[in-house]
Each structure stands twice: as C-alpha cells, then as structure tokens.
Amino acid sequence: MGNTKEASAVRMSRIKRKEEATVPAPVLEVRDLDVSRSGDIVVKGATFTINEGDFVGIVGPNGGGKTTLLHAILGILPSKGRIRLFGEGINRFRRWERVAYVSQHAINFDPQFPLSVRELVGLGRVRRGNLGRPLRKEDWSAVDDALGAMDLTELAYRRIGNLSGGEKQRVFVAKALVRDPDLMILDEPVAGVDATTMERFYQRISDLNQERGITVLIVSHDLTAVFCRMSKVMCVNHDVHYANITPDLDHNELLRKGYGEHFHFVFHEHSCEGVFPRP
C-alpha cells in the first residue's frame, strides 16, 4: 500500500508542477513532420507543441491521417521531420512507460480470448522493467485503483469478450491508466457508443486530465465534446491545423481547413450547457 501512497504523491507533485510553472513543460514537440504510407505522403508538414496538462482533441475526416500521425509519434511508423517526447528526440527516447496508447483497433480483439477484465488491465503493468518477473501486490492494487477510476470494479471478473462496446473501451483506458502515464494517447476509443455513455466517458477522461495532471491526446469525431471539454484542438487532413480552444476561436474557420469549405458546425457557448452535467 505504501507504494500507492508514493504514486499519489508523485501525482500531486505533478499537478503542483503544473500549477506553479508559468511556462508549462513541452510533452510533445513536432516540427515539419512528413509521414508516408505505401509511398504516398499522408501527413505533411505537421508542426505543433503539446504541453504538460493539455487536453487535445484530434479531429478530421476518415482517412485524414489521424492514426498515421499518432503512429509516427509512437515510433511505429517511420517519418521525416522532428519529434521530441519529453524533451528527447524520438530515436533516443527510451522512457516509453511514461506514454500509454490505446489503439483504434484495441476493442476488435478475438471475443473468445480467455481473459478477465482484471487480467487484461493487469497486462498494462507488464513493462520492460519487470521482464521475467511476476506482477506484485502493488501492481494488482494499481490495477484495482484503475478499475475503480474507470468504474469497472463490478466487472473485474467478467470475461472481456462478454462486455459491451462502451465497457470494452473503458477497460482499455484502464489498461492504459494503470501504467500511471504522463501522456495518454487515445485513438477514437468511443466509436459506436450511445450519447450518454460517451458523455460520461469524456467526463472521466477530463477528470484524469484535471485531477491527475495527465496530458491527453484523444482522437474524436464528437466535435461538441472536443470544443466543450478540451483545451486544444488539432484538425488533421493531410495538413495539420492546431489551435487553442478559447471563446474567440473561429471553430468553423479551423474545421473547414480539414473538412472542406462547405462544412458548418453549429456551436455556441451554450451548446455545452447540460451536455456534460457535473455531479
């Protein structure tokens, strides 16, 4: 249990750091990034900086290159340009335990795969540092914490194949969360989920961002959620446009760069009222 306390102390200091620092530390810096797939340039000239504590919504049409961009950031795909994670060039970066990623396809696993929810979230504690050793007590208490944070305690011993779509998504976020990351990258984890469940999901992610100080990058097709909840928006359609979400942001001007010039998204300040009721 001592370890959990330690972990929460780390978290507190992380939040404090965020409050005290006048200039937040950059978590991810991308400069002039080109990413190709099968010879075609899919993302070109991406340049942006994501700071500690940011909550970034990544939007853009299907096939626009959102997943491609994330894969380049994670080093899964080769790219041209510069990527720095926590101040270190991606090729030299080794502290991957600070980054947690949930892939767009995470929930498309074999439904017959024999794993309980708790076992799957436990796999989130598997890392380079404990190679060849069993998970310890403190790993499992971190698992139970993550299950609690994602409201999954009741489902801990259910088989993952028997969960609903929304439950599966929460399980994978719990698996990411259990690594106690500083940066969480979620690729469209709420596709095909009903509106209420989706709102509650974004609420939980927002809590992780605010209460634990985790920097979050999340791909989303829910523009209302992005503009109501998040601090930055990135619109990806080959080009990457990046903006702070402020009351005077012309969201349609930004979105048209990604979705085409006839795109119109009705959004006023009061669009958010009642959408995300806080308890």
């Binding site: 994670l74 024999p114 598997v126 998970l135 088989r159």
Partner: protein, 265 residues
C-alpha cells in the same frame, strides 16, 4: 491396480503425465497465437530428423530435435521476410521434412520397425533414460513459460501493444517457437508423430470452451491433458489396445463432453 506394480507402467504414467503437462501448456498459447497447425508441421518435419538419426545410427530424438528447431526457425524466418504466413510456412516445412524423411528411408532400404514406433508412439517402452530426457526438456520448457508468462500472454493478445511497451517480442517469439519444437519432439515417444498435434491442441481447445479467465483456462487445460493421458494409459492397458490411440480418444471424449455440457448447461 496390479498394473502399478510394473516399473514399465509406472514409467509410462510418469512420462505421459509430464509430457501432457508441457504439451497442454505450450498448446494453449499456440492455439491463441493461431499457430496450432505449426505443431503438426513440426511433428512431420521431425519425421525427417528421425529418419536421419536412424540412418546415421545416432539417437533419433536428438536428430529430430535439431531438425525440428531448424524447421521452426525457418517458419519464423519465412514469415519475417514476408515469404509465407505461419500457416503456409508450416505447410512448406511439413512437406520438406516429410519428403526428406522418405528419401532417407528409401536410401536406407525401406521402413523398419523402429520407425513405426516413432510414427505411432510407444509410451509403454519409456525407460529411465527417456524419463530423464523428457523431464529435463519439460523443466526447461516450464521454467521458460513460468518466467515469461505475462509477456507471452501480453504479446499473444496484442503483439503491437506488447512491442510498444518494450517487451522484446521477436526474441521471445523465437524462444517460444523453439520450445514448441522441443515439446513436440519429447512427445513423439508418447503418442507418435501423427497424433502429437492432438496432445498439443485438444486440452487447450476443451478448456477454452468453458469461458473462464486465462488462469482458469490454463489450469483446466493442464488438468484435462494430464487426466486424459493417465486415464488413456490405464484404459489401453486394461483393454490391451494401442495406447496413443486411446489417449487421443480420451481427449476427444473430454472435448465432446465439454462441448455437450456447454450446450446443455
């Protein structure tokens, strides 16, 4: 239980149980990796190795071990180069190994009786030396599975995610496949080349039907594997029929029983 008084029968039970334990454990991962047919492919390749061993007058299990490990490495290599999927690569190695075996046999002047015992197994002839070989190979395999259990599970479930968190997927994958080869060769004495795939696949497949957690599935698979091997050996001695056949039939029986139980319950 007069049977237990015979040393050869005790050897058979012990050797069979150890083999079943390892086979069902290795097999469960193999099924989940969707590489079950690799077991069959490697077993048939081992046939080539056995023929070479008999031809050259060295321990056929040893030569089979070498040939099977080479086959497994070739399969992974072909997959890595994009020459063939695991499945297709397995088919290629199966054919190559078996054909090689046939050539060697014809050079040696035809089948002999010893070759038959490797094809169909001879659990009742397991002696102390065999027991030592089987147990030491089993210990190596089980230590590996025990140590890297969580890494293997993680990469079996989602290889890309495992790679991202820094699990050395490629070396572990190769080590695991080499142990598949080892496991298969050590099972040849028990059920023979043709039926070894049953020992690897059936316990895991039966356990998977019960929809349990991974831990539960694994324990059940090991239980099914050992029970059917021990039970099969007894039944075959009592009714005096081919042991490997009865062992496999017992496994199929358990599989059908579990399937029926799931439909009804």
């Amino acid at each position: 239980m007069r049977l237990l008084e015979y040393p050869f029968f005790r050897n058979a039970l012990l050797g069979g149980a150890i083999t079943a334990l390892v086979c069902s454990w290795v097999g469960l991962f193999l099924i989940l990796r969707k590489e079950a047919m690799m077991a069959d492919g490697v077993a048939h390749t081992a046939f080539g190795g056995i023929a070479i061993g008999l031809f050259l007058g060295i321990d056929p299990i040893l030569s089979a071990l070498v040939v099977s490990i080479l086959a497994v490495l070739a399969i992974s290599y072909m997959r890595k180069l994009g020459l063939a999927s695991s499945d297709a690569g397995t088919a290629v190695m199966l054919a190559t190994g078996f054909a090689g075996g046939l050539i060697v046999i014809s050079l040696a002047g035809g089948f002999n009786i010893e070759l038959f015992t490797y094809l169909f197994g001879s659990i009742l002839t397991i002696d102390r030396g065999d027991l030592v070989t089987v147990s030491s190979l089993a210990v190596i395999t089980m230590v590996f599975l025990g140590l890297f259990y969580k890494e293997l599970l993680s990469m079996t479930f989602d290889e890309q995610a495992a790679r991202l968190v820094g699990i050395p997927v490629a070396p572990l994958s190769i080590a695991y496949n080499v142990l598949v080869a080892v496991t298969i060769v050590l099972s040849i004495k028990v059920v023979g080349i043709i039926l070894v795939v049953a020992l690897i696949v059936l316990p895991g497949l039966s356990a998977l039907q019960l929809n349990r957690s991974f831990r539960g599935t694994m324990i059940t698979a090991l239980g099914f594997g050992m029970t059917s091997t021990v039970l099969g050996t007894f039944l075959s001695a009592i009714y005096d029929v081919a042991t490997s056949g009865v062992i496999v039939f017992t496994m199929v029986g358990i599989f059908l029983f579990v399937a029926a139980y799931r439909r009804l319950g």
